[in-house]
Symmetry: C2
Subunit: 190 residues, 2 copies
DNA sequence: AGTGATATACACCGATCGGTTTCCTTTCGT
DNA sequence: ACGAAAGGAAACCGATCGGTGTATATCACT
């Protein structure tokens, strides 16, 4: 019994779309997606209006897991600084995986040049939420300019994930953490 | 007389490949490339072995201009810090253009998941050279850890260009410059 | 057992992909 | 003025693209 056997065809499609579009890019064919999901093309078009819609749905479905991964395990006892650093610690740990190819949402935004694409809209929303999370932490931590600090943090986040995903940088020596620490200190965040 | 009329067919192809693959992504068809260049497909395959080879050549041809754009206009009188900040000033100024879509070399690395692709190799080389340039400046500027600082700077560079290119961030208020300044200060670079 | 919904397999659509070939015109050296 | 060579237009190749139509099989429910 394969691991996908207990999932509905729709969920298997979303799973395959997320996995293959992340590994091979958004230009992956629907034929390959359906083969991977073990679902006929005909069924796919009953669940989704188009390939674009399925891609957007697959990105959206992964948002809760993505958020949970970046959230601090014990947010109550942790300081704002610890919660911010946790995000980059997770990024650094994830980046060592052989099949890490960078932040999937940033990749989608880069690959789909069209900002009106439904998947681009989902990706942009995720990025805005991350920035807003950082901003709230910066405010709680007493940063001098919370908005600026938050934008700096997403800059580092996306730069680190893109470079690690592209294979031109390694984060496992704490590069992101060190960079963020310097920025937190400079912003006067406790 | 169009602006391309005085260029050789080969140069027109390289120009069209650079422009269209930057605007539409590397998946742009050779039919469109040849139409844009005003060159027959047959001629194109006499100049280049494949679409991949032409793409790599088009990226490579733009390297000198890219370098010149980031180089300080008066490198002798400028300090290492000024030379570094000049790079990010140029990035911020370029990013306001309506047809700015991020660093083309990073985009190619993200879009072509295959690191063995000839265009990926060119792009990786460009990124390595930028990091090396930063490292040399960091050393000259007396940074505590020149290698670390250089990696932080390319992190910010790629993060800023990717986010600005994706349309999720604006750099025209000096975001990159402010971030880099904080990192230079933290590294003890004069 | 019968029925309607759901899923599959598979041929098919026009369009485009990267790449090749054929034919014809233009250009250039002599 | 002539012949070779280069270049352009377009047909053509097999493959794949996103998407549909059709006929068959499987399933739950009554």
């Amino acid at each position: 019994m394969a691991s996908t056997d207990k999932l509905s065809p729709r969920d298997r499609l979303l799973d395959a779309a997320a996995r293959l579009s992340y590994r091979d890019g958004v230009s992956v064919g629907i034929e390959a997606l359906c083969r991977e999901a073990g679902v006929s093309k005909r069924s796919m078009y009953q669940f989704f209006d188009s390939k674009d819609a399925m891609l957007a749905a697959s990105l959206e479905q992964r948002v809760p897991g993505y958020d949970a991964q970046l959230a601090h395990p014990d947010p109550r006892s942790a300081s704002p600084r610890e919660r911010v650093l946790h995000v980059f610690g997770r990024l650094e740990r994830a980046s060592v995986s052989a099949d890490y190819h960078g932040c999937p949402y940033l990749a989608v935004l880069v690959e789909l040049k069209n900002p009106e694409h439904p998947a681009s809209i989902v990706a942009r929303t995720v990025k805005e939420r991350l920035a807003e999370t950082f901003r709230a932490e910066a405010e709680r931590g007493g940063a001098r300019d919370p908005e600026l600090l938050a934008r700096q943090l997403v800059l580092v986040f996306d730069g680190a994930s893109a470079r690690a995903g592209a294979g031109v940088e390694r984060l496992d020596d704490g590069l992101a953490t060190k960079t963020v620490t310097a920025l937190l200190d400079a912003a006067g965040m406790e």
